[in-house]
């Protein structure tokens, strides 16, 4: 089974909460088929809002989008959204795993759960980003990714609609790259090319 693993797979990880939805939408608009990596979005949302994100963003990109199932293989040129009410973990066998243990900081999916599992998976992370939100979730995961030597970015709290999330990330680890208001999408677009 391992022989089917695509050794060139890399990940882009994107986490956000309140105030991040519009940013996600704009990032998705930047993605054009084909992309050489897999993008995983983790957005905090209510327990019952299933299957809406790929639908909502359908007209914004021509890259394939899905809310992956437990054990689905992770492949390049795909956009994934963590499903509500599960943590979405990245396995080192290049598959997704659902986890239904307690929420982190009242959130399931938790950004930390996805980020930490990705950091430990051995799959290279091209970039990890954390945007607006009013929770502490994501800070631990982003720190671990940075410590593993992967490029990490946080939205400048000054320009975030809800600054708490990027602030917590910077409190835990000062050296994350800042995404300021100025050239915000230009920088992200360069990262994703």
């Amino acid at each position: 089974m391992n022989s089917a693993k695509d050794e060139s797979l890399s990940l882009v990880l994107i986490g956000g909460s309140s105030g991040s939805f519009v940013i996600f939408e704009d990032i998705i608009k930047l993605l054009r088929n084909p992309v050489s990596f897999a993008v995983i979005f983790v957005l905090h949302r209510g327990k019952h809002s299933s299957s809406v994100l790929p639908d909502l963003f359908k007209t914004k990109t021509d890259v394939h989008m899905s809310e992956p199932h437990h054990l689905d293989p992770i492949t390049a040129n795909s956009i994934y959204f963590a499903l509500p009410d599960y943590h979405l973990l990245v396995g080192k066998d290049h598959r997704f795993y659902y986890d239904h243990t307690e929420p982190d900081f009242f959130s399931r999916p938790s950004i930390d759960a996805t980020f930490i599992s990705a950091a430990l998976s051995g799959i290279p992370v091209k970039a990890a980003m954390l945007f607006s939100g009013s929770s502490q979730d994501g800070a631990e995961g982003l720190k671990l990714l940075a410590e593993k030597g992967f490029p990490t970015y946080v939205q400048d709290p000054e320009s975030a609609e809800f600054p708490r999330m990027p602030e917590e990330a910077l409190l835990k680890y000062r050296q994350h790259n800042l995404l300021g208001e100025d050239k915000f999408y230009k920088t992200i677009s360069d990262l994703l090319s």
């Binding site: 973990l89 659902y98 986890d99 930490i116 430990l120 998976s121």
Partner: protein, 271 residues
């Protein structure tokens, strides 16, 4: 925050096996890694300390196993599932003079009690036998006592109603010492017993098997093996119910089942 690496997790798995005989090697690593990391964080220790503390004869290793296996359950969990079983499956089962059900991975019994209540209301309980199994003796002991905490009864009552319950949940338990105890009449048709889905084999043939919130623990390979066991334990045209969070995907047996409900993952064995 303590982060455990994959190689450390393997060390822990071996240590647990050496001391307790419990083998996690067939359990999905990413979730195990998360749960083990959270366990360490909760008690503020690192792996070295934990390894030092889990000693033969001590109770810590069993606590740890308990924590890593997760045996959360509740009455009428995911009520829409029970509703579907009632509307889509019971009608079919009515034609059998005797019925055998298997609740695999039953934890402290709530799922088996819920099934028994539904069968009773459908007039099927007297000809039904429910085998409810788990690999944890601890949860089985609690299941046999038929006790759940009173604090949750309000939520459970709501779930019971949403599942299409015809009476009141309180008709099925009595209260003693601040606990709710399931009525003995319901328990008469339930047999709780120890069974390891990953090691033990087929022990009977069933018209109905439910295995909810259990498969998620297993690696892809072990999961396929467990699916095979469930398949072999089902009579032809019997039902396999996985609930809201599990599907037949990657089981290798998709072609042997007809989908009865794709959201609640109710399947019927057709070949």
């Amino acid at each position: 925050m303590v982060v455990l690496e994959y190689n450390q997790l393997e060390e822990l798995i071996i240590r647990i096996r050496d001391i307790s005989g419990f083998d996690f090697s067939g359990y999905a690593r990413p979730s195990l890694l998360r749960r083990a990391g959270r366990y360490l964080a909760k008690y503020d220790m690192d792996l070295g300390e934990l390894l030092d503390h889990i000693e033969p004869g001590g109770s810590l290793v069993y606590e740890l196993i308990q924590e890593l296996t997760v045996n959360y359950s509740e009455m009428f969990r995911d009520p829409e599932y029970f509703k579907k079983v009632r509307t889509e499956v019971f009608g079919y089962l009515e034609s059998y003079p005797a019925l055998r059900f298997w609740v695999a991975g039953c934890a402290s019994g709530e799922e088996a009690f819920s099934m028994a209540i539904m069968l009773k209301e459908a007039g099927l309980l007297s000809r039904s036998l429910i085998y409810a199994t788990d690999l944890s003796n601890k949860v089985l002991t609690s299941a046999r006592e038929g006790v759940f905490t009173l604090g949750n009864t309000r939520t459970f009552s709501e779930s019971y109603m949403q599942a299409g319950g015809k009476h009141s949940l309180s008709d099925y338990y009595h209260v003693a010492y601040n606990q709710a105890i399931i009525s003995p009449e319901l328990r008469k048709n339930i047999v709780f017993s120890l069974h390891d889905l990953t090691g033990d084999g087929v022990f009977n043939e069933f018209q109905f098997i439910s295995c909810r919130n259990v498969m998620i623990y297993f690696t892809l390979e072990l999961r396929q093996q467990v699916f095979r066991l469930l398949y072999d334990s089902l009579s032809m045209l019997g039902f396999l119910c996985l609930g809201k969070r599990e599907t037949l995907r990657y089981s290798g047996l998709e072609a042997h089942f007809k989908v009865i409900d794709s959201t609640l993952n109710i399947y019927q064995k057709i070949k």
